[in-house]
């Protein structure tokens, strides 16, 4: 099974939301990372067939998803970012409604619904109206409906939003157990979620994929750039104004342990030691605290296959707009 994005573009007037993105997705879990407005949701909507690309095509096993229509949607599971629901429905109503929409056999629908509600921790809540659910419960219900039809392609837009740490672990386990032989594409702002379960990271900026690879591969992009130093507290504040600081831990004795990013060797003055980079370090390096792209020193990246040709247009990693 292969889902191919071929020069996928979405343009709203003069604004390019997705800029000639190409990728080949085979079974596995793909973590889509990017700041707000990077184009993650737009790409996901196009993959789900609910937003027409301005140009380009998406195909599954060589056939356009537009041409496949209902046949493709039968193999698709989707949790949108702003998951809408019906307040007067019970959780079971909603699951059975979605089952009917997804073409799940009516006799199997109830058993499957109850099983999934149990797996997302909503056992015993199936007859409660959704309007009485907390945000996390609604999100778990959304996750349950997304996998109701045992989809080959599962698209999850911010699935862990509103989940507490325990629920996030449960979600990760659910996806890990589900993902065999399936294409799972999930976007999140919580980097650790994808770090644990993603086979591949797709990093987006300004409508383009700027890097792709396994978490270990992409993280290598900031190898040697992540440091930790134990400094006086006031020095920590000063440091934050000079370099991206990942973390500050106040040790209680007037000193603080600071984890920061820097490609410059000036760290020696701080007695900083290099530490193993994480995906969060990479994310912070690529996007500054406001979520906007970081225009500082570039790190080597692994370009996404098929993406190189698209680098002629739009804003790309490393700064500057190519002609």
């Amino acid at each position: 099974m292969e889902l191919v994005l071929d020069r996928l573009t979405k343009q709203y007037g003069p604004k390019i939301a997705v800029d000639r993105v190409s990728a080949r997705l085979r079974p596995g879990v793909y973590g889509l990372l990017g700041a707000n407005g990077a184009g993650k949701t737009t790409i996901m909507r196009m993959i789900c067939g609910i937003l027409r690309p301005s140009s380009g095509e998406i195909s599954l096993d060589g056939r356009s998803i537009a041409e496949l229509g209902g046949e493709y949607r039968a193999r698709l599971g989707y949790l949108p970012q702003d998951f809408g629901y019906y307040p007067e429905f019970t959780a079971l109503d909603f699951m059975e409604y979605m089952a009917a929409l997804k073409g799940v056999d009516a006799r199997a629908a109830r058993a499957r619904s109850l099983e999934l509600l149990d797996r997302v921790g909503l056992a015993g809540e199936e007859h409660r109206r959704i309007r009485t659910f907390s945000g996390g419960m609604k999100q778990r219900l959304g996750i349950a409906q997304a996998v109701l039809n045992d989809p080959d392609v599962l698209v999850l837009d911010e699935p862990t939003a509103g989940l507490d740490p325990k629920e996030r672990v449960r979600f990760r386990n659910l996806i890990a157990g589900f993902a065999t032989d399936k294409i799972v594409l999930l976007s999140t702002h919580i980097v650790s979620d994808v770090e644990y379960i993603a086979d591949s990271i797709l990093m987006m900026r300004a409508g383009s994929f700027i890097m792709q690879g396994s978490p270990a591969e992409v993280v290598r992009g900031v190898k040697g750039m992540v440091w930790e130093a134990r400094v006086p507290v006031r020095k920590a504040d000063e440091l934050a104004s000079r370099v991206p600081v990942v973390n500050v831990h106040h040790d209680g004795d007037g000193m603080a342990t600071v984890r920061f990013l820097s490609s410059e060797p000036h760290v020696a003055e701080l007695s900083a030691v290099p530490v193993a980079p994480t995906l969060e370090d990479l994310y912070l390096h690529v996007f500054d605290e406001s979520g906007a792209e970081h225009t500082g020193a570039a790190v080597p990246v692994t370009a996404v296959e098929g993406q190189r040709c698209s680098r002629r247009r739009g804003v790309h990693f490393g700064g500057g707009r190519h002609a």
Binding site: Y12, C48, I50, L101
Partner: protein, 421 residues
């Protein structure tokens, strides 16, 4: 499909606004129909005021006392009898020259209550109708009817149709030769002699069926969010990405809407017909529509006319349903849709059309324009479409069927082509 329809119905009918609109309108309809019965008033045999079911029973008795075929001979005899009563103590020529108010006072002073009430008996008013003069009391023009004229009762009826066509809705409308032929031919088809009798229940249905417009409004309120709320609440993304999100789901939504609307409409009709037939009686179903409006050129019985009028409102409801669904699929703003529905349903009835026959013909096609059964069956609204002439019933049916034919595919297409941006 069945479970999808079930869930769509649940979505529609569990909204508080929908519950309030549906229950509220059905309750209102029941109350209005009940008040209609309670507030019925008439004068008894000795001039006493009767009300409610007693008044209805009295009217029925009075009418049934005159029931029977209106043969020319009977009409002539009864008009002669009327003239005898009316002119026993008063000079017909003097009465004819008075204003109607003065004539009324003179009659009230001259005759006892029983005689006065007989002069206003609906039966006599009916048989004198072909010679009626607008603004005059029946005893003011009854004297003009000679025995020969009375014997040609049906000829006079046919002549009055021609006079109406000549007048052309008070000068607002010029009937084309095709229209004149249409109405004349239709009037020729009315079987003679007419039968006079009590059909109060059916009469009341014809008078009250227009209240169904409130049921149509409740339907619009309920159906408005069918597509629009999916956009507004963000459920469109999940639905449209589902296997049947662009096929069976739309069918289920449409079928659920039609099913709901039909049941609600049936409840409304049941209330109107139930109250009418229980309190006014179900008899007279096979009497001709001319018992409701003598000038009607339709060869229909009372029940057929009532069924046709209710049928027209059913088409109005389906048309409004299609319009609402199309708007719902085109915009997420439920307020904009309801405002549009209110304008089409109610505001159109307030628009002035005096002086323009064309505007009057157009506005009459709106739901509030159809509120008068008399307009539908006796006002001779015709719409020449080239060589073809359609009456108000046919044109209204055509307009609302066209709304369905256009609105449903628009709704379908708009939903299926919707982009979640």
């Amino acid at each position: 499909m069945r479970s999808l329809i079930k869930f769509e119905l649940k979505k529609m009918l569990t909204r508080r606004v929908a519950i309030v609109a549906n229950v509220g309108m059905l309750l209102m309809l029941t109350v209005v129909m009940g008040l209609n019965v309670v507030q019925t008033k008439t004068e008894g045999n000795i001039g006493e005021i009767l009300s409610g079911p007693t008044a209805i029973a009295h009217r029925r008795d009075v009418t049934e006392a005159r029931a029977g075929e209106l043969t020319p001979e009977r009409v002539a005899a009864d008009i002669a009898h009327y003239q005898d009563i009316a002119y026993e103590k008063l000079d017909p020529e003097e009465l004819a020259e008075m204003s109607n108010a003065t004539a009324y006072e003179v009659v009230a002073e001259t005759y006892d209550d029983a005689t006065r009430l007989e002069l206003y008996d609906p039966y006599y008013i009916t048989i004198l109708k072909p010679w009626a003069v607008k603004g005059l009391e029946p005893y003011q023009y009854a004297s003009r009817v000679t025995p020969e004229m009375a014997l040609d009762f049906y000829g006079a009826l046919a002549d009055s149709l021609q006079v109406t066509l000549d007048e052309g809705m008070g000068g607002e409308w010029v009937y084309s030769p095709a229209e004149r032929a249409y109405w004349t031919q239709m009037e020729d088809g009315v079987p003679e002699p007419l039968t006079y009798g009590w059909a109060g229940g059916w009469d009341n249905i014809l008078d009250c069926a227009a209240f169904l417009v409130f049921i149509v409004f409740a339907m619009c309120v309920t159906v408005t969010p069918l597509f629009a709320s999916e956009y507004r609440d963000g459920t469109d993304a999940v639905l449209l990405s589902a296997r049947y999100g662009r096929g069976r789901l739309v069918s289920a939504k449409l079928l659920a809407a039609i099913l709901y609307a039909t049941v609600l409409f049936a409840l409304g009709v049941a209330i109107i017909c139930g109250v009418s037939l229980v309190f006014y009686g179900a008899e007279g179903a096979s009497l001709p529509i001319q018992n409701y409006a003598l000038a009607s050129p339709y060869a229909l019985t009372m029940w057929q006319a009532a069924a046709m009028y209710v049928g027209v409102f059913y088409l109005v409801m389906l048309g409004m349903l299609a319009l609402t669904l199309a708007l719902s699929a085109l915009t997420p703003s439920t307020l904009a849709i309801i405002v549009t529905d209110v304008v089409v349903l109610f505001v159109s009835g307030l628009l002035p059309s005096a002086g323009s026959g064309l505007l009057r013909h157009v506005f009459t096609l709106f739901p509030m324009g159809l509120q008068s059964a008399f307009d539908l069956f006796a006002s001779l609204f015709s719409y020449p479409l080239g060589p073809v002439v359609l009456d108000l019933i046919g044109t209204a049916a055509l307009v609302y069927c066209a709304l369905v034919v256009v609105g449903v595919p628009v709704a379908w297409r708009a939903w299926c082509r919707h982009q979640v941006a």
